[in-house]
Amino acid sequence: MTETLPRLPTLVPPPIELPERAAALRAEVRTFLAGERAAGAWHPRADVWLSGWDERFSTELAKRGWLGMTIPAEYGGHGRTALDRYVVTEELLAAGAPVAAHWVADRQIGPSLMRFGTEEQRQRFLPGIARGEVYFGIGMSEPDSGSDLASVRSRAEPVDGGWSLTGTKVWTSGAHRAHAFFALVRTSPRDERNRHAGLSQLIVELDAPGVTIRPIPLLTGAHHFNEVVLNRVFVPDAMVLGEIGAGWHQVTSELAFERSGPERFLSTFPLLVALVGELAGTELDRGRRQALGGLVARLWTLRRMSLAVAGSLESGLAPELAAALVKDLGTRYENEVIDAARLLVSMPPDPGAEHGYARLLADAVLHAPGFTLRGGTNEVLRGIVARGLGLR
């Protein structure tokens, strides 16, 4: 009797190599970024996809065809692959470039509109997204609905020609500057036997009557998060995304794309660059070299994992389990960079510094709590992994 090991689910898809053309694209992006840096257009920052709002920069990227890359040309996009977009995105994040303005629209709104949107919705939003001029927020969390997203209470009542939306959304990054957001709302009463039923996604323009946006300052005092109060906001039928009642399915299918990208391990990479810059040319003892080398080994591994998931997504699969693992490891790694930086260089973090190591360290320390929360807490992700392993 042969005793085989129990089969495990696919924890990581097979390795991929980027296509040949990626090298030229990468070189173009690097040349552009070097020019921006040389001109002093911005300084590298940590956690740029939350905090680096720079509309000029977004439109410069758009001019070069680096926004809406996967959107078809008929909607103003560039019809390129998700792997091409991966190359551009990782270069921007590694450089600490200010990508926050277009971030949500480019990463998930464009693909969601292509997947679930109507022709009218695509025509209306996609060209502006690809031009780097139309920005979006995410309207999922509520005061009483964080990890338990299915408990959202915002509700939309049917009215003549559309829906009347009432409720409160929180932690909406950039809502005070964005044009619209996707709100996850109840369109039929809660059913305890099927908690995921009766949810829908509506596209809400943030200047609509009845929308009130209030800042929720971060612990630094910086304004990125908002509370978005919706008081009988009229949303026309034409702005329902996908199907009424299919909101849960639509939202969760976005998440595999959202959890495995380079933004899940590169939030503190600019700090690592500054750290190596501080240490290069000094006499480093073996222990410090090893600590630095450990960060390099983990980073290289995370990137290979993330690329493997990107390759799997590109081939039409939805590797939810592998994506959750990338995010768990990657966001913990972002914190490990901070600890190594603190211990390897004696320089106190300085939030008042204009730029450089002390400023990067301060920003990284103060933004760190968000890394392992956003996009599903690491504990929730491990629950997804446990389900994948057949434990629940």
Binding site: A280, G293, G294, V296, R298, L299, R303, R304, A308, V385
Partner: protein, 350 residues
């Protein structure tokens, strides 16, 4: 097509290694001669060696699949040593590759040229599987030697997984011209990278094996009226182990692919193998610790099969370079690259 071929190879390897493990009791140690014969018959014992050297002419990515499975089932055979190390070294040096299971060593030996051959003396510490090998292929400075076991003294030793790690004493052994040759270019570095890659792939398998055993046990073991895998505390621990297993799988597969594409002389391969072995060695301890914690006392006994993979995780993480030594090298590379060169180093895109 390639994917299908690899899937078949994986199934074949899993079946062979699972059979071998089912035949033996958990307490058996040492060379599994029956398994070796099966591997030779299936063409897996010398997968990457060219046909001219008695091999199957397969790719490194094929071998990666087989070694991962060997690690998962704790196979007691010198696959890495025969195919990736000794076979390659002898063949690359232009020597005939001896038949049977082989092993390899790098050592300082005293070599006196005698006619067309040489007389050699010295000690080779901790040679894997020496007692089971039909030949010991040694990289000694700029020479490659093929030592017949009958001519040397073998003192048995082991690693923490009870795998043979023997001391080989060589006292004035005279070798003919067929057993001595000039070493190929860069042999020391290449042999080190080959050994580290092989060990990394074995570690990936052992890590997967430990996780699979733990998931099964957590589903079967009942405490407080339900399987322990139903408790979030256990689920969270197993999810952490799964993350480590996934990291090792990704790193080892990517390193094998880089080595297959660029060769062991390439700087890209040197970087990838260093990073992969460092990451795998780091993960090994985490996976073994969680596997034992989930298994409770039974996993800590000799009768339980868990130890076959956990002791290998502990042994292999330190062999062919621990994370300390590979991280040291990676740290030096990062410092040489400087801040601006770090991202090009990590992406392999200058």
């Amino acid at each position: 097509m390639r994917g299908e071929h690899r899937h078949e190879l994986r199934e074949l390897a899993e079946t062979i290694f699972a059979d071998a493990r089912s035949r033996a009791s958990a307490s058996e140690t040492g060379f599994d001669a029956g398994l070796w014969t099966t591997l030779e018959q299936a063409g897996l014992a010398r997968l990457t060696l060219p046909e001219a050297a008695g091999g199957s002419g397969g790719s490194l990515t094929d071998l990666a699949v087989v070694l991962e499975a060997a690690g998962a089932y704790a196979a007691r055979v010198p696959l890495v040593e025969t195919d990736l190390l000794a076979g390659w070294l002898a063949h690359a040096a232009g020597l005939e590759v001896p038949a049977g299971p082989l092993t390899a060593a790098t050592a300082e030996l005293t070599i006196q040229p005698t006619g067309d051959g040489a007389t050699v003396s010295g000690t080779l510490p901790r040679v894997p599987w020496a007692r089971a090998a039909t030949a010991i292929v040694v990289l000694a400075g700029d020479r490659v030697l093929v030592l017949p076991p009958a001519a040397v003294e073998i003192t048995e030793g082991s690693n923490v997984a009870e795998e043979p790690r023997d001391t080989v004493t060589v006292a004035d052994v005279t070798l003919g011209p067929g057993a001595v040759a000039a070493a190929p270019d860069g042999a020391t570095a290449r042999l080190g990278l080959r050994a580290a890659l092989g060990r990394t792939l074995l570690l990936a398998g052992a890590a997967r094996g430990a996780l699979a055993e733990s998931v099964r046990y957590a589903g079967e073991r009942v405490q407080f009226g339900r399987p322990i895998g139903r408790f979030q505390a256990i689920q969270q621990q197993l999810a952490l182990a799964a993350a480590e297993v996934a990291a090792v799988a990704a790193a080892s597969a990517a390193a094998a692919r880089t080595a297959a594409a660029d060769g062991f002389g390439a700087d890209t391969t040197a970087f990838a193998v260093a990073a992969a072995k460092a990451r795998a060695s780091e993960a090994a301890g985490v996976v073994a610790r969680i596997a034992h914690q989930v298994h409770g006392a039974i996993g800590f006994t000799r009768e339980h099969a868990l130890r076959l993979v956990t002791t290998r995780l502990w042994a292999w993480r330190d062999e062919d370079g621990s994370e300390a030594s590979w991280n040291d090298e990676l740290g030096a590379r990062a410092l040489a690259a400087g801040g601006e060169g770090l991202w090009p180093l990590v992406t392999g895109a200058p």
